[in-house]
């Protein structure tokens, strides 16, 4: 199922979360739709069984071209009229294409092709995750990140337009996540020590050795980092809880580097961990880093995250 959408971004709030377009005040809907169409390709998953455009479309279609004051829509609005191959061919020249596909280990493959926006900075958002990223010289961007929602939506915000696409991740709830999200200098490092591993062993998962999502098949976790120094960035450790052995724990530790530009300062960041209600539970980090005579040391936070363990039987 493919789905194209393009609308004024200011109205995206009222129209629906997956509809966005240029923030060009004064532009008429029609002119935007015909002149410059950011293409959004939505892939809802390999089986394509989740929602059919023919169900949702009749209610929405008549409204869109006539009035822009469309109430918020519960589901991504679908516009089958714009999915025809002809319009794809016609617009493929300069318009960005975003494709989000389910990948193994409950991850999302994100493929962006923006031929007219090489080396372009943009913001990637998914659930509570935010990262400042950039397209390459060909205007391409690829990433693979863990899905934090079963109906997983990825939003890319460019200076003038925003793109969104989503995918259904059926095994999303099998995974638990531990997340660090921050803005600015990178001082934090998330470390997972799986089942008694020590520093540098194969069970030590951290930015220096993030491991591959394929480890999930063996009940092990993997780390995903995205973002750039000075901007928004995140680290996320994901592990399949169903595959965890009966005994043993995964110790979760955060190291904060004490650097010349961070020593003695307050460190602000946000942490999330899958909590007792089965959803991500938020912690605001407000740590004062040690004084500058300790530059080069590492402040180790043991209690920010709870070690992962199975419930005692």
């Amino acid at each position: 199922m493919k789905n194209l959408a393009a609308l004024n971004k200011r109205r995206a709030v009222t129209i629906g979360v997956t509809l966005f377009l240029a923030l060009m005040s004064g532009h008429l809907m029609q002119s935007v739709l015909t002149d410059r169409v950011p293409v959004v390709v939505v892939d809802t998953g390999p089986k394509d069984t989740v929602q059919s455009p023919s169900v949702a479309a009749p209610d929405l279609l008549p409204v869109l071209p006539v009035s822009l004051d469309v109430p918020a829509l519960p589901k991504p609005p679908v516009m089958p009229s714009r999915v025809d191959e002809a319009s794809l061919d016609r617009t493929v020249g300069c318009d960005p294409t975003l494709q989000v596909t389910p990948a193994p280990a409950a991850t999302l493959r994100i493929d962006l092709l923006a031929p007219c926006a090489p080396n372009q900075q943009f913001i990637l958002r998914h659930g509570p995750l935010t990262a400042d990223v950039v397209t390459d010289a060909q205007g391409q961007f690829q990433a693979r990140i863990p899905a934090l929602e079963e109906q997983a939506q990825v939003l890319l915000e460019f200076p003038e337009i925003a793109l969104s696409a989503d995918a259904t991740i059926s095994d999303q709830s099998d995974f638990h996540h531990v997340i660090l999200q921050w803005h600015g200098a990178q001082t934090l490092k998330l470390n997972a020590y799986e089942f008694g591993a020590s520093d540098g062993e194969s069970g030590h998962v951290w930015p220096g050795s993030p491991k591959s999502p394929e480890r999930a098949l063996d009940g092990r976790g993997f780390l995903t980092s995205l973002g750039r120094q000075g901007g928004d960035a995140f680290q996320i450790y994901s592990v399949p809880v169903r595959e965890l052995p009966d005994t043993g724990v995964i110790r979760l530790v955060v190291d904060a580097e004490i650097m010349p530009n961070t020593c003695g300062r307050d460190l602000r960041a946000v942490a999330f961990q899958t909590g007792p209600l089965g959803r991500l539970s938020r912690s605001d980090i407000r740590v004062t880093l040690p004084d500058c005579d300790r530059v080069g040391d590492v402040l180790r936070l043991q209690n920010l995250f709870s070690d992962m363990r199975l419930a005692l039987r």
């Binding site: 110790r251 407000r286 005692l312």
Partner: protein, 491 residues
């Protein structure tokens, strides 16, 4: 008006001082009026400074008038909580988050350092801050003294409190011996464990292994509990650890190591089964800890002074004790106090032990047969009552279980069934004397439970079988303590 200004300025300078505007509380029928200055208000109780001195009034049916009336929408309840890291950072946040969810409040944790975090509960719709709990990681003696001087509102502790402290058992734990996964040992006797702690055993060959030294690892803070294992002798020098996690990690990585930690903090080490010289053994599991069949169980307490807490804090404490909180406590890695059922079919080991223990004694065999005939149509509950040494006084966990059983009965969980209190004794002394002791203990428990059950149509009966069903060997005080018990069965 200038006067009003002055009062406002004063109250800003000393925010907790009594300098406040006057207010009047009037009953609905107008018959009662109280005038005074507001000392405090917690959304429920007014504390006023009146002409007759300070008084506390329930504001439920009273109307407040005057400039000193508190604005309930400005009220933020605060409570400080202190204790060991696993309770402050693992148990508290899990309980608070679910508590907030059940009351339509949003939950947010603020982490400042390993020793300090706080939790904010807000109205989910208006985002108004309703309550702030502050959590401090403190050693047990420090938490106790801060509680006594009211620097702390709630202490979480592994030690029972002394003095005028109210305490509830909010979770269960147990002290367990651990070794590395590579260590082939699976079992240790109580006497061996005592000798490991007091230094009479220092090498693994005394435990059936090679000649290597036993590297003993002990926590900094559990000496009171460790002395329960080895009451007579001093503890031998050992590698001490500030946290249970560090201890478990050190043991898990050294095949020559042996450590003692709470069951909730085994980490990546492996627990040893604790047995007696006669061969009876009880592994530490959720069921054996809940039933106190495992010899060194260790209740975890929530303690506070008798003073009134803000309503939301009292509600939270009630929640932490409730049926609804038990899955949360379990998911946080502690042993919960949900009342579990152990079917008769799952007690083959115990029955086999009883038959073996009876041996050739015809009277003992008859007792075992009677017991099986009586209990085979029933199921055992995990609630079990145990007694302080040589007395009919219940231990702390058992006292807490009296109320828990009464609540479970009143909730209707056993409607239409019969509850049997089954008394047992240790095997010391003559059998008929032990039978009488076990009857008396069953009577004590039934009476205590019956006193708390107000209206439930569940018959509470009793039976007793003396020494017929030993769970542990009688060769140590530990084993005898485990055997002196009142089990609860339903049929």
């Amino acid at each position: 008006m200038p006067c009003r200004f002055l009062i406002l300025a004063l109250s800003m300078a000393w925010p907790w001082a009594a300098a406040a505007d006057a207010l009047q509380l009037t009953s609905a029928d107008g018959a009662l009026t109280i005038e005074g200055e507001l000392l405090s208000y917690d959304n429920e109780l007014f504390r006023l400074n009146t002409a007759a001195g300070p008084i506390t009034v329930d504001g439920g049916n009273l109307r407040c008038s005057g400039a000193g009336c508190p604005d309930p929408s400005d009220l933020v309840s605060r409570a400080s909580v202190g204790g060991p890291p696993e309770m402050v950072h693992r148990l508290m946040p899990a309980l608070l988050e679910v508590f907030a969810d059940t009351r339509g409040l949003s939950y947010q944790r603020i982490f400042e350092k390993d020793a300090l975090a706080s939790w904010q509960l807000r109205d989910a719709e208006t985002n108004r801050l309703v309550a702030v709990f502050e959590g401090r990681v403190l050693p047990a003696p420090e938490a106790a003294s801060q509680l006594a001087t009211r620097q702390l509102d709630i202490a979480l502790s592994r030690l029972p409190a002394k003095g005028q402290v109210r305490q509830d058992v909010i979770a269960l734990d147990a002290l367990v011996p651990i070794v590395a996964p590579e260590n082939p040992r699976a079992m240790v006797t109580i006497v061996q464990l005592q000798n490991l702690l007091n230094g009479r055993i220092t090498t693994w060959d005394r435990l059936g292994g090679d000649a290597r030294d036993v590297a003993l690892h002990l926590p900094d803070q559990l000496d009171t509990q460790l002395r329960r294992i080895s009451p007579k002798d001093a503890l031998r020098p050992a590698t001490r650890h500030a946290t249970f996690d560090a201890l478990a990690d050190a043991v898990a990585s050294d095949p020559a190591a042996l450590g003692l930690v709470p069951y909730s903090n085994i980490g990546n080490a492996v627990p040893l089964v604790v047995s007696g010289a006669c061969g009876l053994a009880t592994p530490a599991t959720r069921d054996t800890i809940r039933a106190e069949d495992y010899p060194v169980t260790e209740p975890m307490f929530l303690q506070r002074l008798g003073a009134r807490q803000p309503k939301i804090v009292r509600d939270f404490i009630a929640f932490a004790r409730s049926h609804e909180a038990q899955p949360v406590i379990r998911a946080a890695g502690f042993v919960d106090q949900a009342v579990g059922i152990i079917p008769f079919e799952d007690q083959g080991d115990r029955i086999a032990n009883a038959v073996l223990a009876a041996g050739d004694d015809p009277d003992a065999m008859i007792a075992v047969r009677d017991m099986i005939a009586s209990l085979m149509t029933a199921d055992r509950l995990t609630l079990t009552y145990r007694f302080q040494d040589g007395s009919s006084d219940l231990d702390i966990q058992s006292l807490s279980n009296i109320q828990r059983l009464a609540e479970t009965i009143e909730r209707g969980d056993f409607d239409g069934r019969e509850i049997v209190f089954v008394g047992f004794s240790d095997g010391n002394g003559p059998a008929d004397g032990n039978l009488r002791l076990s009857i008396r203990r069953a009577q004590v428990v039934r009476k205590a439970v019956a006193a708390l059950v107000r209206d439930a149509d569940v018959p509470l009966t009793l039976s007793a079988f003396g020494e017929a069903l030993p769970m542990a060997c009688d060769d140590t005080p530990w084993g005898r303590q485990v055997n002196r018990r009142v089990e609860v069965w339903v049929r």
